[in-house]
């Protein structure tokens, strides 16, 4: 089992979502994240210029079995790519165990699609 964390542009979230569905990733969580980077955005409020380095992105978290890892990564790489600076990152890390709260089962079969 692996955990895939991907930080992608907000504007590409919809495409990434469709691509992940196509790669048989049926369930994942996401959240809006704010990051601090080198990129400055000038703003004006009531005549005062100020700049923010806040970058708004969406972070997707997927826990999946080994055979789905590479398809998921390929899907994100294709769907979130623009070629400009700021397209994001993908992090992959091992997951020790997974438990189903409903049934009490554990192991990677918990992640199998039950449909």
């Amino acid at each position: 089992m692996k955990k895939i964390e991907a930080i992608v542009r907000k504007t590409h979230f919809e495409e990434v979502k469709q691509a992940l569905f196509a790669a048989d990733i049926n369930w994942f969580s996401y959240s809006e994240v704010k990051a601090i980077g080198q990129d400055r955005q000038d703003r004006i409020y009531r005549g005062v210029m100020y700049s923010t380095d806040i970058i708004s992105r969406i972070e997707i978290t997927i826990i999946c079995r080994e055979q789905f890892v590479q398809p998921a990564i390929d899907a994100i790489l294709a769907a979130a790519h623009t070629g400009e600076v700021g397209d994001g990152r993908i992090f992959v890390s091992p997951v020790d165990d997974t438990w189903s709260i409903r049934t009490g089962e554990h192991g990677d079969t918990v992640l199998a699609n039950k449909k």
């Binding site: 004006i44 409020y45 009531r46 005549g47 005062v48 210029m49 100020y50």
Partner: protein, 405 residues
């Protein structure tokens, strides 16, 4: 013998409703241009202004303003406005219309003092404005006092309402000092963006609509050709100045900052409305357009001046919008009045009277405002503790917040 006119009465009552609707307009502008942690406090202050104004203006303010008295102050008729004659409208109709104006003058102040004023002290400030500062200078210009005897013209209150409110706002913001975090250690001005410009912009639209009661309603009549023409003309000049002031601000900020600034265009529209209020009946349509342009330029310059040079923290721009543009509008009558204005060959006399009038009102409102704030600062305390200011007035002053998930 003038008989009461039903049409006039309905028009003035309708206009009163429109002026009343300026209260939510102010509330939304002030709430939108400040941070969400202080929204409940801002809304509460706007309610206080209107409620206190209603009671106190009826109790005493109306008599001090419109009683015969002398040139300086009206009469002392406590809980009694029966001295006032019925004219083309009943006295109660006039009372309610005037009450709306009193509350408007008071509510201007809350924006400049936002996000750091102790609530209990603010109630006292609101009382003093409603019963003392506003009615007396109002008597000078509108109640048969010394300014009106000199021929001072302020149709709907650029000076009487707006410059008065703006001057008290200036005194309040000066005594309070800037919000925590408004200025960097080296004195550089920092932006504290308002939490919801959509609320602010809706407030500006509402105020724009309310002004169609504020200005045309001040004709106090609608019946007959003369009045019908006059209120229609006032409608058009009022709208024109708002539009040209907004457009001017749009392009002026575009040139200054590289982008057209919504937060300042909101102020710009209000600046034009404040500016046209004094002369909306006497100036022509081009005159109104020019007054609007000057108000847009002056307001933008004034916001920057007060913020960066004087370092007076005015979160919503009340000093610039109401104070500065009120002055400009009052002087504008002396320049642009088609009958008696300097640019129409009327000479300097009218302009001189307008200048004297607006200076007198500034001096009165600012001095009394300053004394009030200073005395309250030494007695009740005018500013909340730094910790309350940082965590928000909503929780510590009211125990409830505007936004609850």
């Amino acid at each position: 013998m003038i008989t009461i006119s039903g049409l006039d009465t309905v028009w003035v009552l309708l206009a009163s409703m429109l002026v009343f609707f300026m209260q939510p307009g102010f509330a939304l502008v002030e709430a939108g241009f400040t941070r969400s942690k202080n929204s409940a406090n801002i809304l509460m202050k706007n309610f206080v202004d209107f409620m206190v104004g209603t009671v106190l203006f009826w109790m005493l303010g109306f008599a001090l303003m419109h009683g015969s008295g002398n040139g300086f102050i009206g009469s002392w008729n406590l809980f009694d406005f029966s001295f006032y004659p019925d004219t083309n409208i009943p006295k109660e109709c006039f009372l309610i219309f005037q009450t709306m104006f009193c509350a408007t003058a008071a509510t201007i102040v809350s924006g400049a003092m936002a996000e750091r004023t102790k609530f209990s002290t603010y109630i006292v400030i609101s009382i003093i404005i409603s019963v003392l500062i506003y009615p007396i200078e109002g008597h000078w210009a509108w109640g048969g006092g010394w300014l009106s005897q000199m021929g001072f013209h302020d149709f709907a209150g650029s000076a009487v309402v707006h410059t008065c409110g703006g001057s008290i706002a200036l005194a309040g913001a000066m005594v309070l000092g800037p919000r925590i975090g408004k200025y960097a250690k080296n004195g550089r001005s920092l932006a504290i963006p308002g939490h919801n410009l959509a609320l602010g912009a809706l407030g500006v639209f509402i105020l724009w609509m309310g002004w169609f009661g504020f200005n045309p309603g001040s004709q106090l009549a609608a019946e007959g050709t003369v009045n019908a023409t006059a209120i229609s003309h006032v409608f058009c000049t009022t709208n024109m100045a708002a539009a040209t002031a907004g457009i001017t601000t749009l392009f002026f900020t575009w040139i200054l900052y590289g982008k057209p600034s919504l937060s300042l265009v909101c102020n710009g529209i209000l600046a034009g409305l404040v500016g046209i209020t004094a002369g909306c009946d006497l100036v022509s349509m081009p005159g109104a357009a020019i007054i609007g342009v000057f108000c847009g330029l002056a307001m933008t310059g004034s916001v920057t001046l007060f913020d960066h040079v004087f370092r007076i923290d005015d979160p919503v721009g009340a000093i610039s919008v109401h104070g500065v543009c009120g002055i400009l509008g009052t002087l504008g009558v002396g320049l642009f009045a088609t009958d008696g204005g300097l640019f129409y060959g009327g000479g300097f006399h009218f302009l001189g009277v307008q200048t004297l009038g607006v200076l007198a009102i500034i001096a009165w409102a600012f001095c009394l405002g300053w004394i009030t704030m200073k005395v309250l600062d030494k007695t009740m305390g005018i500013r909340v503790d730094p910790r309350i200011e940082e965590e928000g007035l909503d929780i510590y002053e009211h125990g409830e917040t505007a936004y609850n998930s």
